[in-house]
Point group: C2
C-alpha cells in the first residue's frame, strides 16, 4: 500500500498546499480519496495514471474536498474513458452532479456507479480480492464520512524447496497456501509451517477529514497502520476548532493513541501556518510516530509500519 498526498491544505489553499486529495495504491488499484480543486494537475505532477482510477471517495460536500471533481470528470471524458467509475459520496450529491452535467451540457461517455454513503455505523462499501473499504461517520458541520482501507490477509508463501523435497503435486498447493498440512503418499504428515512462511501482514489506512474529535472514532480505526487525521489547528486553538467542528493536533494525536494506530499523519492545515513543523512537533508530544502530509509525496505504508 502506497499513499500519495495530492493536497494537504484546508479550505484556503496556499502557494504550496493544494486542497484535500489522497491517492491510495493498493495492489495497483488506485483509490482517489477526496478531490479538491487542482487534483487533476497534482495527479499529472505525480505521474499517476488517470486510467487506473476507478473508485473515487468523497468525504463530504465542502468545496475544498470536491471542486476538483468537475474538471477530473471532464478530463476522463476527453481522454476517451469508457470504464465505469464508482463514486462514493453523501447521498445528496447525486442530484447535484446531474444538474452540473446538465448545466454544462456534458455527456459522459462512461457510466458513473453512484454509491451513497450513509449510516451511523461502519459500512462496507467496496470489496475485491485484495482490499475492503469501509465508510464510517465523522462529526463535522455537515454530513461527513471517513474511510478505512484494509488489505485482506494474503495466502502463506510456499517454500519452493519443499515442493521438490516432498514432490508436492500442483493440485495440493492452493490448500497448503491456505494453511493445510501436507500428507505424503506414504502417509507422513508435514506440518504447514515447515513448508510455508507467513505472508506480509495485511496493511490498513484510514482517512479522517473533516471532523471534530468524538468518542467512537478511535474504535472505527482501531489498530490501523496509517491514520490520516485532520489537524487544521494547533492545540492553542481548541475553542475555534470546536466552533467550526475541526480538530487540533492534540485531538488527532489523542485519537491515534486511543486507536493504537502505528503511524499518524496530520494534514488539512489551516493557511495561517506558513510552516507546519510546529504542528507536527505538537502532535508528537502525545503520539511520537507522527508525520506531516506533504503535497506531492508518496508514502510506503509498509515501511512506515515497520518503524519502531
Amino acid at each position: 500500500m502506497k499513499l500519495t498526498v495530492l493536497g494537504s491544505s484546508s479550505a484556503l489553499p496556499t502557494s504550496k498546499r493544494f486542497p484535500s486529495a489522497h491517492v491510495l495504491n493498493a495492489h495497483e488499484r488506485l483509490f482517489l480519496i477526496d478531490c479538491g480543486e487542482g487534483t487533476q494537475m497534482q495527479l499529472r505532477k505525480c505521474s499517476i495514471k488517470f486510467g487506473k482510477i476507478n473508485n473515487i471517495f468523497i468525504s463530504h460536500l465542502h468545496g475544498d474536498h470536491i471542486f476538483g471533481l468537475y474538471g477530473l470528470l471532464s478530463t476522463f471524458n476527453l481522454m476517451g474513458r469508457e470504464k465505469t467509475l464508482s463514486l462514493y459520496a453523501p447521498e445528496n450529491y447525486l442530484p447535484m452532479l446531474h444538474s452540473h452535467l446538465r448545466d454544462f451540457d456534458i455527456n459522459l461517455n462512461f457510466e458513473i456507479e453512484f454509491v451513497p454513503l450513509k449510516g451511523k455505523d461502519p459500512f462496507k462499501i467496496y470489496e475485491d480480492k485484495y482490499v475492503t473499504v469501509t465508510s464510517f461517520p465523522l462529526k463535522h458541520r455537515i454530513e461527513a464520512y471517513g474511510f478505512l482501507f484494509r488489505e485482506k490477509p494474503a495466502d502463506r508463501n510456499i517454500l519452493k524447496d519443499s515442493i521438490l523435497k516432498y514432490s508436492i503435486p500442483t493440485l495440493r498447493i492452493p490448500g497448503i497456501k491456505k494453511g493445510q498440512d501436507y500428507i505424503t503418499e506414504d502417509g507422513r504428515i508435514i506440518k504447514n509451517n515447515e513448508i510455508t512462511i507467513s505472508p506480509d501482514e495485511p496493511l490498513s489506512y484510514a482517512y479522517c477529514s473533516d471532523t471534530m474529535p468524538f468518542s467512537r472514532l478511535a474504535a472505527f480505526v482501531k489498530g490501523v497502520d496509517l491514520l490520516y487525521h485532520e489537524a487544521t489547528f494547533d492545540g492553542s486553538m481548541t475553542a475555534l476548532a470546536k466552533q467550526v467542528k475541526h480538530s487540533t493536533t492534540i485531538d488527532a494525536a489523542r485519537t491515534a493513541l486511543k486507536a493504537g494506530a502505528r503511524t499518524l499523519m496530520v494534514g488539512h492545515f489551516s493557511a495561517r501556518y506558513k510552516e507546519i513543523n510546529g504542528l507536527v512537533e505538537e502532535a508528537r508530544t502525545l503520539f511520537p510516530n507522527t508525520i506531516p502530509a506533504i503535497d506531492g509525496t508518496t508514502y510506503n505504508i509498509g515501511d512506515l509500519a515497520k518503524k519502531p
Copy 2:
C-alpha cells in the same frame, strides 16, 4: 498595463500548464479573465492580491475556463470579502451559479453584480477613469466572447520649469494638461507643446479564446498592442481545428497580421505539445513578433509595444 498568465493549457491541463486564466493589471485595477481550475492557487503562487480583483470576465461556459470560479468565490467568502464583485459572463451562467450556491449551501457575504455578455457587435461592458473594456463575439462550439481592454488617453504632462517660467496659476493647469495654450497676463500666447510633453501612448490588450478564425475578428481588435489569441493546434492540424472550432498558430498569426497588432501572444496549447517552441516558431513565420503564454509569467505590455 501588465499581464500575468495563470494558465496556458487547453482543456487538458499538463504538469506545467494550468487551464485558462489571465490577470490584467491596469492602473492597479486587476481584471481576471477566465478562471480555469486552479486559478486561486496560481494567484497565490504569483502573489497577486485577491482583494484587488473586483471584475471577473468569463469568455464562455466550458469547464477549462470557469471551473476555478467556484473555489475562488468560496475563498473570497472565507477571507471576509464584502466588496461587490462584478462578473461578466454569458447570460445563461447566472441560473447555473445560483443553483451551485444553493446546492453547496454557500451564502456569499458580498454581492455579485452580474453583467450578461451578448450581442453580435462589440459592446462596452466596463469603464472607469483609466480603462474601458469591450466584449465582442467569438466563434466557437458554444456562445463565446473576447475582451478588449483599452487605456484611455492620459493627460499631457506639464513641464515643471514652464510653470515657474511663466508663473502659471494652479487653476490653469488642468486645462493645459488637456491641451490648451497658455495666455500670459500681458497677452502673450504660449503654445501648449512648448510647456507640455506627450503622455505615454494608451495601451490595449485583447483576449481571444476560444475561437476559430472568422473574418470580422481582426476588425474587433484593430491596432491592439498585445493580442492574446488561442493557438490550440499547429498548422498541420487545420482540419481538426476547424472541426472543434479552435485555431491553429497560422490562424492566430493571420488575425494578428490583419489586425495590425503589435505583439501576438499564443496560448491555450493542446496537451499533445510537450514543448511549445515549435508552435511559436510557426506563428513567427507569418507574424515575427509572436511570444508564447507561459504560466506564472508577467508581461509588461508597454515594454512589448516598444519592441520593433
